[in-house]
Amino acid sequence: EAAVTQSPRNKVAVTGGKVTLSCNQTNNHNNMYWYRQDTGHGLRLIHYSYGAGSTEKGDIPDGYKASRPSQENFSLILELATPSQTSVYFCASGDATGKDNYAEQFFGPGTRLTVL
């Protein structure tokens, strides 16, 4: 069964430390996305990718970098973590395929990050 997995599921980091969140998909989708979920904001787009080697800034990219080394893997990197980055992070994959030509997105289970 096609799936999106994320690791770690929970992470506690210190302010100023480096954090890497990993995402793997077996959907063979070209597009992958990183969102963060905060109360009162819903999900907001941080970075996305159209394929291996590409990354694009989303709506709230400041403080985050992304890396897409392969079709299957998409990482979110916090070089200098801050308490304001405490959140739940979701990865998703999707493609514009099929007769309707729109992209349904499939989400991973989320990573809960706490920055102290």
Binding site: Y33, Y102, E104, F107
Partner: protein
């Protein structure tokens, strides 16, 4: 700018009662609209999706939604709520054909009372 508004942060319904969750969108052009559900400590799962055509779309678990271009709305309905429907529901829009990221509303938490 494109946006999605879910005016109700929390809704409490009795088991067996009907449910309607409101969603208003702002978008110039042809929207593709979605309802996702998030069960406790899980990721988001697709409930249903709308693309230009029949304004009433059916989803999983007895959910349906109705698109209204004149009202810029995409409200979600269920005739009889079950305790397992206790979750957070997100409305989302994607601005373009072809794989652009989703724009989400802030979500509505549905609590089910016995």
């Amino acid at each position: 700018a494109q946006s999605v508004t879910q005016p109700d942060a929390r809704v409490t319904v009795s088991e067996g009662a009907s449910l309607q969750l409101r969603c208003k969108y702002s978008y110039f052009g042809t929207p593709y609209l979605f309802w996702y559900v998030q069960y406790p400590r899980q990721g988001l799962q697709l409930l249903l999706k709308y693309y230009p055509g029949d304004p009433v779309v059916q989803g999983v678990n007895g959910f349906e939604a109705e698109f209204s271009k004149s009202n810029s709305s995409f409200h979600l309905r269920k005739a009889s709520v079950h305790w397992s429907d206790w979750a957070v529901y997100f409305c989302a829009v994607t601005p373009y054909q072809g794989g652009r990221a989703l724009i989400f509303g802030t979500g509505t938490t549905v609590s089910v009372s016995p």
